[in-house]
């Protein structure tokens, strides 16, 4: 029974991180119809920046803030400089471009920071809570991870649902031409979408770095699982991304705990295939309403 509770709790913590990664992918997909294969490398860079800040004497909070801020700027710059020129090109161009960006960023990070993974500090203690006589796998830092991801998901939901800039962003994503006819500066909305997405990705990076260590390729497995989570949720639904992340976090935690961690990638793939077979549009897709 303790094992089940342990696995459930750590599944929730992992799931929160997958949810953040999935959110980053979904925000970009729904505004520009691009799967951002460079997302893993972008959040790797911002985590290295945070690491540099912390190693040169900055506090964790400062490093955390710098990661988010640099993610925001990074996303905006990538949209303006890299994505904007291929806006009307065939979708394959975007695939090649984001894959190319991924390769470039990984190479650059290797040159600057080396290829040996290094440690990254956690915000809070990594020692599990003690309940009665037993020590849980769930730590204060896990609590922090879950709360921060919830806060960001809620903030994004409020931004989209309750503010005028959120309404303009949704209009620009759903119907760019109509949005322009209503005076929405669609280009700016896309830039903002990429900035918010990269910021959410940067958040996932600093949250997960203490457990995966920080190296140019450290985040690749998490990106793949985050992508599966995004597809699970329908690829264009932010709430779907969060639910997909949590479901996957729990499922993979049970698989890893009861069957062994070697099966985790296989299980992620199996879940993806099953969901695509039963509901090809994912669990939360808005596309069925997309007929005007």
């Amino acid at each position: 029974m303790t094992k089940f509770i342990d696995l459930t709790l750590s599944g929730i913590s992992d799931g929160a991180i997958y949810a953040a990664v999935a959110l980053a992918l979904v925000l970009i997909w729904r505004s520009t119809r691009i799967v951002n294969f460079a997302q893993g490398a972008m959040l790797m860079i911002t985590t290295f920046i945070a690491s540099a800040v912390i190693n040169s004497g900055g506090s964790y909070v400062l490093g955390f803030a710098v990661a988010l801020a640099s993610g925001f700027v990074f996303g905006a710059v990538v949209e303006r400089v890299v994505v904007r020129p291929i806006e009307h090109a065939p979708p394959l161009n975007a695939v090649i471009l984001t894959l190319g960006l991924y390769t470039l960023l990984v190479a650059v990070a290797g040159m600057i920071w080396g290829n040996t993974p290094r440690s990254f500090p956690a915000a809070f203690s990594l020692r599990g809570y003690k309940v009665g006589g037993t020590t849980l796998l769930f730590t204060p830092n896990d609590t922090f991870i879950v709360l921060v991801v919830i806060a960001v998901a809620v903030a994004l939901a409020l931004l989209f649902r309750a503010t005028s800039v959120g309404l303009r962003m949704r209009a620009a994503a759903f119907a760019p031409e109509v949005a322009r006819l209503l005076g929405v500066r669609v280009g700016r909305m896309l830039t903002l979408g990429w900035a918010l997405a990269a910021m959410t990705g940067a958040l996932a990076g600093v949250l997960v770095a203490p457990s995966v260590f920080l190296g140019p390729n450290s985040f690749d497995p998490i990106l793949i699982i985050g992508f599966v989570a995004a597809v699970l949720g329908g690829l264009d639904s932010p709430p779907g991304a969060v639910v997909g992340g949590l479901v996957l976090g729990l499922a993979l935690s049970y698989v890893s705990g009861y069957e062994g961690s070697a099966l985790v990638p296989l299980a992620a793939l199996a879940i993806l295939v099953i969901v695509l077979m039963i509901r090809p549009t994912g669990l939360f897709s808005a596309t069925k309403e997309r007929r005007v």
Partner: protein, 232 residues
Amino acid sequence: MLTIEELTTDYGPVRAVDHVSLEVPDGSVTAVLGANGAGKTTLLRTLTGLVRPSSGHVTLAGRDITRLPVEEIVRLGMAHVPEGRGVIAELTVQENLRLGGMWRGRDAAPPAEIYELFPRLEERRTQPASRLSGGERQMLSIGRALMGRPRVLLLDEPSLGLAPVLVAQIMSLVRKLADTLGLTVLLVEQNARSALSIASRGVVLNLGRVVAEQDPHKLAADDRLLHAYLGF
């Protein structure tokens, strides 16, 4: 006043609008008629900057707007209700309306004004626009355009797919808007009789060219012309 001079728009080798010149005085309703493929939609899309002309000029209230981006043209008071209405299905009725006035900030028309015009929209304001009927969608897209208090309203086949009663209602509303708000309207229609019944002037397009420009009553009575270009 909206002035169009020698406007020409090409899609590659296809010339969709061919040296069109028109003057649309303030507060008037100009009906632009023509068969399928005559270039009506392309004319409107060129006016709002969605497609770029190969040559010619568009002037709005004395200002050359030919090369401005869509968002800027909208800010100068041009509203375009596109073919097929362009209601954003995922957003609610209220959100669609708000969006129409957003660029104006505080000076936007209050939604209450639009709801007064279209009470049906108020009943459905919290529903997603995907649930609206064709007529309600037309009301929503016109209402949404009015939220920005435009000077010029471009309507692309508002009667398409609507029952005759609704068509008559929409047409009389358009006339009323021109009379009471001084709105300048360019009304693209295939439904020639309805459009001409409220128009100040009628223009017939064929293969991108203006082939007739007349008083609406004379045009409506000209069976030969209507037959030749509109298939009546």
